[in-house]
Symmetry: C2
Subunit: 510 residues, 2 copies
């Protein structure tokens, strides 16, 4: 890799988008498939992204009044069965624990033994097991609200998996709250949706549309599901986070009841909300290019990598000394409340190879320092959101004093360019055949490049659901959400022609 | 609870130590048993302790060159079988996943379906699944060392469980490192043992003895297991953390091989090390008293609780305003690098009840503020390590300016008193009948009050193991460790009379 190829990732995005995604993950050393079916190993660089995501969100959850707790991994089968829609949604894809030891069989090989009276399910989500605790904890309105979050691993035995986007095991946070009134629970649901939007915009530089899911796309057991939807570079949608108003459904299933201020017995109103390691998939697909990952500065494990260049031991000593000085100066600066994170990569490998490793890993700023740069008291600086060859000399003192501005510029640039893409690939349709054509790859286009986000009027009448869903299934398109906070004039459903005031965003999706 | 009883916890430590432990957990609202067999729910106050433990250790692991990653929860059965001692150690108590969905049976009830070709084990520890990755990652000595830690949940299907100390599921960190030489791996093993000792002493205020496990007490598959052992207030030992030198055993089982600098093929040398939520059990049993939990200041979720006292709305307004001011002033102070954590408990419940809640939860400093205190510009302050009634008026400015000193004094006091207890209950024995007597509860003593730590000479000859172990089993005593860094003169084994230079610490244990 000493000479730069056309691009560092093969294939490129236009050649084969899904394969490009896998190759970016590999080149950036984020994760790899594991010997456990459908599960991945999250490697240190990928896990560092997750740690940064956790840190920011955890702080925000606490600022909004939540505390963390931890509930069991295993859910008794009977708990899952308490809520009819819920079990329907999760029973088909769950890991079942049936035995509690291994024993040598006739051929000497170990076989499961100690069969359990009741099997356990590895949590696919924790409404039911957490509900059992809340039922014990809540007696009076004085015990409400309960505002708890959990950082945990969960399992859903998906048949088709893709790293970060859909894996059998994934890491997430799940908030579970219980309230004395419906209004308060709805307010919580919307507050957390806003937190997710804020995080996507401010930290991930990933523009999202807040919306409500149509009934067919709700969380199993929820009254309303709200979502943030992002557009990936291939025009497909990614559901990046959800917040559910559960009404009294789960409170009834778990028996969360309380005496209200008037002394009457009531069921509590609950919510749940979550984001997962899927966000990392979204981050990759939103920003990366044909040279690899691009990490938004506010989530970068390292903001700056210093790359010393030298030909002999004497130069090495001097250049490294200079780099250490620059590192210290940079670390004296703060960005988003933390000190600037600097890596000094002094490994003895060829400069070209080393630089390309950092390009592929997406570190925001690369600064090369050779003897001549040092003599000019300057560094040769490249920004990961600009072209690989777009580098320039910057005086040391300017470099240090402007670093936070440069990082913020990059952060904004990433957001704006993702927003521009989304806007360029969002269209409103009033004609079904145009809509269908837009979602049907043309012969001369790569099969993985799809239309984008299509807005269209949609009939909410349950009687029309089958007709609409059949048409959508044919096109492999799904309703992503009914955008929030928009007032649209009355119109006609794209599929049925019925009058409606609801517009939906449709897209192919991950 | 408006009048203080003799003590807040019933029974007291001397009345029934194990039950006292459960009651402290309940009174401090740390955790509770869950409907999932052997698993607990870690409630917010208990989880906040774990978060503080994680934060300090995680920082230290990173300072010592480690990075975090994440490996699958489920381990293929065949992986567990790769290392003979390892599978022997874990097969008897493991949760086995055999199916990947639930399906309606004949009676309409859900039954496990979709049987897996090969069952999976929920990780009891991750040497084998992590080893599989390392085998892929390591080719050359240049790929070594690998220094990775994982924060995760694990399961061991223990028959007898006790909250925090022994639960079917628990939270922990497991470090897994691979090195090019035995010496380097040994150095890593000892470094992490030192980190655990440092943490126990500096943060938990829990004195520990560093030592090596005798062969019978080693981690299954390890060459050497090192431990930190703490004495609980009933004289029993708690193994609080372990660090294992695994030699090449697991490298051979997983196939972690590399080309060394001379071009020859070698197996890597590996280590693993971990501490878990068990530390919280240790914290409780080391410091708490008959009024509930006592939290060492350096791990306290809140350092100070402000307790406003008033009789009417006018007083309430004034007192709360004053408290807010004190809170702000305290938060301007830093302790151990973070700002002082202050809770202003303005809940409308009776003062006595409120105060007792905070005593039972173990917050280091309680400061009551009534109208008269306010007029004197002072607070009525109690320290949780002193008697409940041992409170005194302290001027506001003195209170604020001395808070970090007071917290540190309390931290030291807790350590010293735990150390004094350990020293008072550690004896050296040269006579087996004295040793036996010491570990046999006298008629007039409570059955749960045991001798403590007994030092004695011990023969390392494997031929003597059975005789020694039988005698120990009779007394329900185990060898805890061979203390490190001690030079003892030659002596005679307490059990066999054989000459030996090894002294072991024996104790009953958790």
């Amino acid at each position: 890799m000493s000479k730069a190829p056309q691009s560092a990732i093969t294939p490129t995005r236009t050649e084969d988008y899904p394969e490009w995604y896998q190759q970016v993950i590999k080149a950036a050393d984020l994760a790899e498939n594991s010997p456990t079916r459908g599960c991945m190993v999250i490697k240190p660089w990928g896990y560092a992204l997750w740690e940064n995501i956790q840190q920011v969100l955890d702080r925000k959850f606490k600022e909004t009044g939540h505390v963390n707790a931890y509930f069991p991994l295993l859910i008794p089968k009977s708990f899952l069965e308490q809520e009819a829609e819920h079990v329907e949604g999760f029973a088909k894809e769950c890991a079942v624990v049936t035995h509690h030891r291994l024993e040598a069989g006739k051929d000497g090989k170990l076989i499961p033994a100690g069969e359990l009276e009741e099997p356990f399910i590895i949590r696919p989500t924790s409404e039911t097991i957490i509900g059992a605790s809340y039922a014990k904890w809540v007696q009076s309105y004085r015990d409400l609200p309960i505002l708890i979050n959990q950082w945990a691993n969960v399992m859903r035995w998906e048949m088709r998996t893709r790293m970060f986007l859909r894996t059998a095991e994934f890491l997430w946070q799940e908030g579970h709250t219980a309230h004395a009134t419906a209004a308060e629970a709805v307010e919580e649901t919307m507050q957390m949706l806003d937190v997710y939007e804020w995080f996507a915009h401010e930290y991930m530089a990933m523009p999202v549309i807040k919306g409500e899911k149509t009934p067919g796309e709700k969380f199993p057991g929820a009254v309303n599901t709200y979502t943030i939807e992002a557009m990936m570079q291939d025009g497909k949608a990614l559901q990046a986070g959800t917040s559910h108003f559960l009404g009294q459904n789960f409170a009834k299933a778990s028996g969360i009841r309380f005496q209200n201020q008037q002394g009457a017995d009531e069921f509590a109103w609950t919510t749940s909300w979550g984001v997962s390691t899927r966000l990392i998939g979204g981050l990759i697909m939103t920003h990366s290019d044909d040279d690899g990952l691009i990490v938004p500065p506010r989530l970068a494990p390292k903001h700056v990598v210093l790359l010393p260049i030298y030909r002999n031991d004497e130069e090495k000593t001097q250049v490294l000394e200079y780099c250490h000085r620059v590192k210290k100066e940079l670390e004296g600066q703060t960005y988003m409340g933390d000190k600037i994170r600097v890596e000094l990569d002094a490994r003895d490998i060829r400069g070209g190879e080393k630089t390309w490793q950092h390009i592929k890993k997406g570190t925001p700023i690369r600064a090369e320092v050779g003897p001549r740069d040092m003599q000019a008291d300057s560094l040769f600086v490249g920004r990961r959101d600009l072209g690989v060859k777009d580098k320039k000399g910057v005086g040391r003192s300017e470099f240090v004093s402007t670093i936070t501005n440069v990082l913020d510029e990059m952060q904004k640039n990433l957001f704006n360019r993702a927003l521009a893409l989304r806007e360029s690939r969002t269209q409103t349709f009033t004609d079904l055949s145009e809509f269908s054509k837009w979602f049907t790859p043309k012969n001369d286009a790569k099969p993985e490049i799809h239309g984008g986000f299509a807005r269209a009027y949609w009939s909410a009448d349950p009687a029309d659901a089958k007709l609409i869903n059949d048409k959508l299934a044919e096109l492999k398109v799904t309703p992503r959400c009914i955008p929030l906070g928009e007032k649209v004039p009355p119109g006609k459903c794209l599929f049925t022609g019925k009058p409606t005031s609801t517009q939906v965003i449709f897209a192919k999706n991950y």
